[in-house]
Symmetry: C2
Subunit: 336 residues, 2 copies
C-alpha cells in the first residue's frame, strides 16, 4: 500500500470514516477522546489527504491560475509573489504559467486550468482572448486581467495608469528646468510604451519652449538603450537633449552606459535621466536611477482579491476596473 486513506485511519482508530473527516474538517464536532485516537492513527499511518478526492467531491479546486507574459521579468515575478501571498492568506494556491508572449502557450494553460477546475484565472493577455474568457465565464470560471487596461468593461482588470506615469516622469524633468527632452522607447505597438509617451507629450506640451524628441528602439532591452545613449553622446554638445525619459529601466540602464562611456556625458549634470518600473537594479546602477515605480506586488494581490470576490459572488457580479497611480522615485540620476 503506497498511502493510507481515511478508511485505513478509521479502521485503526476504531471509528467511522465520517468521524475521521469530521476530525479533519470540523474538530469541534468531535469529542476530545476520539480526536486523540484519530490523530494518533493519522500519525502512525502517515496519512495525507488526497487532494484529488477532495476536489472531486467539492466540485472546484482551491487553486487560481495565473498566466504571465514573461516569468523572467522582475515585474511579473513580483506580481506573482503578490498574488501568491494574498492567495496563501485565503488558503488558495496559485498555479503559474508562463505564456512567453505566445498565444499557443497561453491557450494551453487556459485549457489546463479549465481541466483543473480552478476557481478563477489571472491573466496578462497576449492576443485577443476575450471570446475565450467569455467561454470560461460561462463555465463558471471568472477572469481578472492584469497589467492591461481594457476597453472591454465586462471583465475586471487591475493596471497602472501609464499615461499618468509618463506625465509624471516628464513633469519631473521639466521641474528641474530641463526643456529639451528625449524619449527613448519602442516598439510603439506595445501599449505601455505608447501610453508613457503620450503622457510625456502631454506634460511637455503644457510648458512653453519645451520640446520632445522621440528616439525609437527595437526592443525594451539594455542593449537597445545603450545604442540610443551612444548615439546621443556622439552628437555635438549643442544638439544633445538635456534630459532623457526611457520607457523602462532596462533601456535607462543601457542609455546610462552609452552616455558615460569613455568619460562622456555627465549624468545628471549634463543630461538628467529617468526610467520606468523601478526594478531592483535601478538603485544599483552606476548612477542610481530615478524611476517611476509600479506597485507590482500590489497589482498581483489586488487582482487576486478581486478574483476571489468575483468567484464567491453569485452571477451578476459587477466587473471592476482598478487603476493604480504610479509613483515617482527620485535618485541621483535626476539630482544635482
Amino acid at each position: 500500500m503506497v498511502s493510507a486513506s481515511v478508511k485505513d485511519v478509521a479502521a485503526l482508530a476504531g471509528v467511522s470514516v465520517g468521524t475521521v473527516s469530521n476530525v479533519l474538517n470540523r474538530p469541534q464536532k468531535v469529542s476530545a477522546e476520539v480526536t486523540l485516537r484519530v490523530q494518533s492513527a493519522i500519525d502512525k499511518l502517515g496519512f495525507v489527504r488526497n487532494d484529488a478526492a477532495r476536489q472531486l467531491r467539492a466540485g472546484m479546486s482551491h487553486s487560481i491560475g495565473l498566466v504571465v507574459l514573461d516569468a523572467a521579468n522582475p515585474f511579473f515575478s513580483d506580481l506573482a509573489r503578490g498574488a501568491e501571498d494574498r492567495a496563501a492568506a485565503e488558503n488558495f494556491t496559485v498555479l503559474v504559467g508562463n505564456s512567453n508572449e505566445d498565444e499557443g502557450r497561453e491557450s494551453a494553460y487556459l485549457d489546463l486550468f479549465e481541466q483543473q477546475r480552478v476557481r478563477g484565472v489571472l491573466l496578462s493577455p497576449v492576443g485577443n482572448v476575450i471570446p475565450r474568457l467569455e467561454q470560461l465565464r460561462r463555465r463558471g470560471i471568472p477572469t481578472v486581467l492584469v497589467d492591461r487596461q481594457t476597453e472591454n468593461t465586462s471583465f475586471s482588470s487591475v493596471a497602472v495608469d501609464d499615461l499618468a506615469g509618463g506625465e509624471m516622469a516628464a513633469a519631473h524633468l521639466l521641474s528641474l528646468g530641463r526643456r529639451r527632452i528625449a524619449f527613448i522607447g519602442g516598439p510603439a505597438s506595445i501599449r505601455q510604451v505608447a501610453d508613457r509617451l503620450a503622457g510625456a507629450r502631454k506634460a511637455i506640451d503644457a510648458v512653453a519652449g519645451a520640446t520632445l524628441e522621440v528616439i525609437a528602439t527595437e526592443s525594451l532591452t539594455v542593449l537597445s538603450g545603450r545604442a540610443a545613449g551612444e548615439s546621443i553622446r556622439s552628437r555635438p554638445e549643442a544638439e544633445r537633449p538635456d534630459a532623457i525619459f526611457a520607457a523602462n529601466d532596462l533601456l535607462a540602464v543601457g542609455a546610462l552606459q552609452g552616455l558615460m562611456l569613455m568619460g562622456g556625458v555627465k549624468v545628471p549634470q549634463e543630461i538628467a535621466l529617468i526610467g520606468y518600473d523601478d526594478i531592483e537594479f535601478a538603485a544599483a546602477a552606476v548612477v542610481p536611477l530615478s524611476s517611476i515605480r509600479q506597485p507590482s506586488a500590489l497589482i498581483g494581490s489586488t487582482a487576486l482579491e478581486l478574483l476571489l470576490r468575483e468567484a464567491a459572488s453569485e452571477d451578476g457580479f459587477a466587473p471592476t476596473q482598478v487603476v493604480f497611480p504610479p509613483e515617482l522615485i527620485v535618485r541621483a540620476s535626476t539630482q544635482g
Copy 2:
C-alpha cells in the same frame, strides 16, 4: 449545471460512458461513426475533462513539484523553464513553488505536493531536508536535488562542478599573464562561493609567483560588488590586483561599476574581470563581461528526466549524481 460530465455526453451521443472514455483515451478502439457522434456531443456540451476525477482514479497526478530558492533569480527561472519544457514533452505539468530560502515555505510546498500526489519533486534545498525526503520516498514520491552536490548519495542530484568552474576562471586570468588575482565573494557559508574559491586557489597555487587575495562580501549583490570595486580603485596603483574573479555576475557588474567610476581603472587593460553564471545582463554590461556559464536550462531538463525515470522504475532504482562541467565565456572584460 456548471459543466457537463461524461454521463451527459454519453446520453446525448446515445452511447455508454465507457465508450465516451474510449473515444477520449483509446480512439482506435471505437468505430468512426460513434467517434463522430461522441465528438459532436462533446463540442455541443462544451465538455471538459475533470482532472480531479482522472487523478483520483489514476491514483497519481501528472504533475511534478519544483521548489526553488528564489524565483526572481534568472538562474532559477531558466532552470524552471528547462524543466517545464522537458515535462511538457512528456505530458507532465510542473508546479513551481518559491521557498525564498525559507524552511517553512519549503516545507509547506512539500506538504502541498504530497497532497496533490505529484509524481515526484525537484528540489533546491534550504535546510536539512533529507529526513523529509526519505519520508516522501517511503510514500512513493521520489526526489531529485538540483544545484546541489550532496554527500548523501541515496538521492539523485544534478549540479554543476563549481570547483572546476573556479579553476577555469582563475586559469583563464593566469593565461592572460595576470598574477595578482583578487577573489570577490561571500558569505563563505554558501557552498557555491566556497567551491568557486577553492577551485581558483587550486589553479593559482599551481603557478609560481601568482597570488590570491580574497575580498569578502556580505552578499552576492550588485551593491556589494560595487563597494568591493571602489575599495580597489581607491588603492595606490601598485597595490591593486591585475585581475578579479567575482563569485557571480551581479558582483562582477557591481565591481565593474566601482572600478570605472570617474574614469577610474580601465577594464580590462589595468584589471581583467571575470564573473560567474553568465546571466543575460553580463553581455550587456558597460564592458561586456567574461563569465563562467552554467547550463541552467539543461540542469532543469536533466533533473526532470532523471526524476521521471526514477518515478517510472519500481523500487530499487539506483540514485544517479549528474555533474555538469561549467563553460568559459570570454568577452571584452578579459580581452586586449
